[in-house]
Amino acid sequence: MSRVRVLVGTRKGAFVLSSDGSRKRWEVSGPHFAGWEIYHVKGSPADPDRLYASQTSGWFGQVIQRSEDGGETWAPVGNEFGYDGTPGTHQWYDGTPHPWEFARVWHLEPSLDDPDTVYAGVEDAGLFRSTDGGQHWQELPGLREHRSAPSWQPGAGGMCLHTIILDPAEPGRMFAAISAAGAFRSDDAGQTWRPVNRGLRSEGIPDPAAEVGHCVHRIAMHPSRPSVLYMQKHWDVMRSDDAGESWHEVSGDLPTDFGFPIDVHAHEPDTVYVVPITSDSHHFPPEGRLRVYRSRTGGEEWEPLTKGLPQQHCYVNVLRDAMAVDSLEDCGIYFGTTGGQVYASADAGDTWEPIVRDLPAVLSVEVQTLR
């Protein structure tokens, strides 16, 4: 029988939540790396027992952990993230040039077909790759060396490369997103990059339609239709039908189009999920009601999903990497909150139940479907 494994990164450790395909009873393992911030945990599509975790600390820096047994045991691997050559500068909050400084790994994206190859998106924004299971990391400097990079500025959470998407149909095509620089695309396996932000409008920057400077929060793709991308921006839910060449807004009838995560149903490329958040100054759901919104039309028309979610006095946030879907026949949707709840829906969002209620603040959620 199929099983699912939910990989949860929190402010104070990692947790592995496991269930059979019914997704009714859950085993909870953790905290792994107790007391450390776990920004992301993700498994290799090519070997689901191979997991990578980004473990960080303001005191002791970056550690990368690797598991060969689905998260039962872990071992530290390489943690040296040195920018290629002499890194230049980006803009600091006060507008002055600021040297690139490595802070942490936000996102780990294992290769689709090689368990030993994994990409890391880091703060200050850069893309690294390991081809030996995380022992050694080399920067792919083409992104950081883009001509626009000296003008990039950090968002409130730091200048992080938080989204990496590998195109399953076009070898060498990948997408990355940086707060607050925007979306970028490579067609040569990460060697060279170009901004793909046409159609985005951000009122918080001097030129709302600038080539770069947009605070992209998350991008999602359905693997069967990789030319269609969905984006949750600082404000606005956006869609591209041409692999990022242009974007148009699909916020439609959402109660607010601010938010962080966005994801796509495993079997329905036009079914999209977001979690509307009141505003950039009120990082909690509108009216204290936690609602996931689902569009079955690829955007514009959205319906609130509330059954099993708190509908009063709820003031949590859902961060950009904290939503994921499984690929069971009845697609499961999962998200974690800054209040430490991890909610699961085994029926594509119609009803929800908490798997756990009292974890540390959740930074990331990934799901593995094990057959």
Partner: protein, 98 residues
């Protein structure tokens, strides 16, 4: 034998209990102690001092014999009591945050 006390998170990372004992050949300095520590426990590389520059991480402190040695030159000799093993060399996570 040099005695080194690690902060709890680094003991967990290195999978050690209690003090670490290191044999140092040559001058006993902060640099030589940390070099020996990282050679024995490679997973500690980068967690105490920067990989490339060798600079102490901002929220890590070095104490010994009731003194804060954090700002001493890395090549300066450590106190005799540390070199003889009478006193431990303390690597401390600074009190910061919650």
């Amino acid at each position: 034998m040099i005695r080194v006390v690690l902060p709890a998170h680094l003991r967990t990372l290195a999978r050690v209990d209690g003090e670490v004992e290191l044999q140092i050949t040559g001058p006993v300095t902060q640099c030589s102690v940390l070099d020996a520590l990282e050679a024995r426990y490679p997973m500690l590389r980068g967690t105490i001092r920067d990989h490339r520059s060798g600079k102490r991480r901002a929220f890590v402190r070095f104490f010994a014999c009731q003194q804060d040695l954090s700002h001493e030159p890395p090549q300066a000799p450590l106190p005799d009591a540390v070199a003889s093993g009478a006193e431990p060399y303390l690597i401390v996570g600074a009190m910061a945050g919650g």
